[in-house]
């Protein structure tokens, strides 16, 4: 079964500073990788996804992530954060060829707090 580890439960960062949220997944022959954002009392919004091709993926709101197969990582980055980026971020994985191909497996989340 797939698993996802988000290495930091909370990340405080000053406004306009860069940020990296870390995500590692269990190895599989093939994977789809996702980052979602959840604002308080809301559902999940897709930030970006890696399906195949270029390992650098750009998403909404200036976020990007890099797929590293050898390190089984998919870290999320933003060069300059805003107050409005304060939210919880979830990394997720699915196996396009396996028995779990219809489900997303999520990490426990990282709470990003942007400090003015």
């Amino acid at each position: 079964a797939q698993s996802v580890t988000q290495l930091d439960s909370q990340v405080p960062v000053f406004e306009e500073a860069p940020v990296e949220l870390r995500c590692n997944y269990s190895s599989s022959v093939s994977v789809y990788l996702f980052w979602y954002v959840q604002y308080p009392n809301q559902g999940l919004q897709l930030l970006l996804k890696y399906l195949s091709g270029s390992t650098l993926v750009k998403g909404i709101n200036g976020f990007e992530a890099e797929f590293n197969k050898s390190q089984t990582s998919f870290h999320l980055r933003k060069p300059s954060v805003h107050i409005s980026d304060t939210a919880e971020y979830f990394c997720a994985v699915s196996d396009p060829q396996g028995a779990g191909s219809y489900q997303l497996t999520f990490g426990k989340g990282t709470k990003l707090s942007v400090i003015p």
């Binding site: 559902g43 996804k49 999520f106």
Partner: protein
Amino acid sequence: DAGVTQSPTHLIKTRGQQVTLRCSPKSGHDTVSWYQQALGQGPQFIFQYYEEEERQRGNFPDRFSGHQFPNYSSELNVNALLLGDSALYLCASSASGTGTTEAFFGQGTRLTVV
């Protein structure tokens, strides 16, 4: 486009009761998945419905059941509620053939069991 809509937004139930949560998928979507998000945790897959049948199920007991209607909307039923069932229940819809790659989530239903 209204996106994925869930009802109700909040619900309080007593231990042992039964509850039904509802989900209307995004226009053009025919597949509905349900997830449970406990406080401080990531969402966990409960099951997925396609063509009115449960296509895949996560590691949840039989107390959790569902239904999909001909208009693709879906219900999640939980029987014999436990305190541990308190969580945010998220519905995600997608179009058949897209798998997990184009899943859209609703705002969720916050269930509190007392």
